[in-house]
């Protein structure tokens, strides 16, 4: 167990020190993926969408998800 955690620690340090590499990129992309999951799972009642769902182009939640997805693309390309 301790050798496993040691290996993980070494890997982390190597990745962190060699430019952000995949660890940094994965962390940033993970934040936006988590945000998209959160936005998608918010109850409609909380956003005042109780009566009928707005058309997609007027749906604030859909636009927010689109912006977060654009961030994933940016960090994938430039991270």
């Amino acid at each position: 167990m301790s050798s496993l955690s040691e290996s993980v620690g070494v890997l982390w340090l190597l990745a962190a020190a060699s430019g952000a590499g995949w660890v940094g990129k994965a962390a940033f992309i993970g934040v936006f993926v988590a945000l998209i999951v959160l936005l998608a799972s918010l109850p409609a009642r909380m956003l005042g969408e109780t009566e009928c769902r707005p058309a997609l182009w007027r749906n604030v939640r859909a636009w927010a998800i689109l912006v977060a997805a654009a961030q994933i693309l940016i960090y994938t390309l430039w991270g």
């Binding site: 952000a20 940094g24 990129k25 940033f28 936006f32 959160l38 927010a64 430039w78």
Partner: protein, 512 residues
């Protein structure tokens, strides 16, 4: 640095813009009758205007000057201030936090803290915000003067005074409504101006691919083309960018900044407030590129002249020098207009918010509890003048004391944003956070950031501690302070917390 002569077209564009924006600001102020009209625009703002206003409340002159300078010094890592440091927290604020401010019916963030914790916490953060806003005004005045000195040869004090008069007229007479609508226009002009500098700069250096190649050949720019520099980067290591900027400074700025929250509180409905945040986030996908790429263009074009940034290197010179080299007559007028737009939008946002905070959290709380709405309006207008005078006075020490205006702004923020976010998060998410816990978290957090900000002097750390780490650790310290002290003290009863904590919806009796 050589200055330039504006052509007749440029002068006409700049003067036309200034006169037009002043007349519009005064005209929009004609219907103001009380504090609610002045401070919250009578709750009448459309989402698109509030959204554009949010963008230029954040991005203005200090960012045009500061991000070009820091883009030259550090590269595209600076875009993180608008990506993970803005878009992520803005979307969180829109969907999770804004509803609580809205439902609590508050004018200011310290007012919310006062209801959730106690008067001491409210007063402390109101005072510290006001001081921060005064410092911010100083940074914007320095940005304006750097540009006008560099381009037109105007003196520092003349540039500062002219700017203060135009902003004073718009803000003191027009209130939040004038601020937001003039900022919407500023947003369009600012985008056009920034796009012109960016586009012409890229054309001059032979396009993006050629720029990458040029920067790649230099020894000191090895991390300029990545958003996530390595963990041993001296100023922006990626873990600090994620934890300090993405999880503390960004959320604290976008969730608890009075200049930001006030705009969304002025919209017509909660859904429009949410839409304004999302619109702001969408615009912010483009802005960092427009503001940071000129810094990279500066490396390619001005590198031999400006050299590698050292300790006394002045980053504020990069943009004015680029403007002189890149822009033909006519185009220069648009860019100057954009720069004025940035100056005005930054200044009027902070002046208007600071006056709202002083009236709501200090004047009405300590000086005249029975003040009428009309009286608050009058005091608010005089405070606009007072803050502008204070900002003018502090501008010169900022000019001489910091490497760039952006560095000054971020350093001011890192003093208290971590503790503020900790108190807001725990206040909104748990009923267990007590008033004494809030006081303890505030003291521990701000003390931690004060010590870490002075690490070179107090702890002997060479070069000091990156401000993003300061923000993160002050947040953690404040969080610990609130949790530990709350465990041993008693909190408010459930009735008092209704509508302030997310698990306790407002009852019929205490809805605003």
């Amino acid at each position: 640095m050589s200055t330039i002569r504006l052509s007749a077209v440029d002068i006409a564009l700049v003067v036309g813009y200034l006169v037009g924006i002043t007349i519009l600001g005064v005209w929009l102020g004609r219907g103001i009758r009380g504090g609610r009209d002045f401070f919250l625009a009578g709750k009448s703002l459309p989402w698109w205007a509030a959204g554009m206003s949010l963008v230029v409340s954040d991005i203005g002159a200090k960012d045009m000057i500061g991000l070009a300078g820091d883009g030259y010094r550090y590269g595209i890592v600076m875009m993180n201030f608008d990506f993970i440091g803005c878009i992520f927290p803005v979307l969180i604020a829109a969907f999770l936090f804004m509803p609580y401010f809205w439902l609590a019916g508050v004018y200011t963030v310290p007012e919310y803290l006062g209801r959730r914790y106690n008067l001491g916490v409210r007063t402390f953060f109101a005072i510290i915000w006001v001081l921060f806003m005064m410092g911010t005004l100083g940074t914007v005045f320095v940005s304006a003067a750097a540009m006008f000195e560099g381009l037109l040869g105007w003196s520092f004090w003349f540039s500062v005074m002219l700017t203060a008069v135009v902003v004073g007229l718009c803000t003191a007479l027009g209130g939040l409504r004038a601020v937001v609508f003039t900022e919407s226009i500023s947003c369009v002009v600012l985008t056009a101006g920034a796009a012109l500098i960016c586009g012409l700069g890229l054309a001059k250096v032979g396009g993006w691919a050629h720029l990458q190649e040029t920067i790649g050949q230099m020894a000191w720019t090895q991390h300029h083309l990545t958003l996530l520099p390595p963990a041993d980067h001296p100023v922006y290591p990626w873990p600090a960018v994620l934890l300090g900027l993405g999880f503390v400074l960004g959320p604290a700025y976008w969730i608890s900044n009075q200049a930001i929250v006030q705009r969304t509180l002025g919209t017509r409905t909660q859904n429009e407030a949410r839409a304004s945040y999302v619109f702001c986030a969408a615009i912010k996908l483009v802005f960092p590129i427009l503001l940071v790429v000129p810094g990279l263009v500066g490396v390619a074009l001005l590198g031999p002249e400006l050299g590698q940034p050292g300790k006394d290197w002045d980053g504020n010179r990069v943009l004015p020098m680029l403007v002189v080299r890149l822009l033909p007559p006519g185009v220069l007028g648009v860019v100057m207009g954009a720069f004025f737009a940035g100056v005005i939008s930054n200044l009027d946002s902070y002046v208007s918010s600071a006056s709202t905070m002083v009236v709501t959290d200090l004047y009405r709380t300590f000086i005249r509890r029975q003040a009428t709405d009309r009286e608050c309006l009058l005091v608010g207008r005089w405070l606009v003048v007072a803050f502008l005078v204070g900002g003018v006075a502090i501008s010169y020490p900022i000019k001489t004391g910091f490497g760039s205006v952006f560095e000054a702004f971020q350093t001011f923020l890192s003093f208290f944003q971590g503790p503020l976010l900790a108190l807001l998060l725990l206040g909104m998410l748990t009923r267990r956070a007590t008033p004494w816990g809030g006081v303890a978290g505030m003291i521990v957090g701000v003390s931690t950031s004060a010590v870490l900000n002075s690490a070179e002097l107090l702890l002997g750390v060479p070069g000091g501690i990156p401000f993003l780490w300061t923000a993160w650790w002050s947040f953690v310290a404040a969080l610990a302070g609130v949790v530990v002290v709350s465990a041993f003290t008693s909190g408010h009863d459930e009735a008092r917390l209704r509508g302030l904590v997310c698990w306790l919806p407002a009852g019929e009796g205490n809805k605003p």
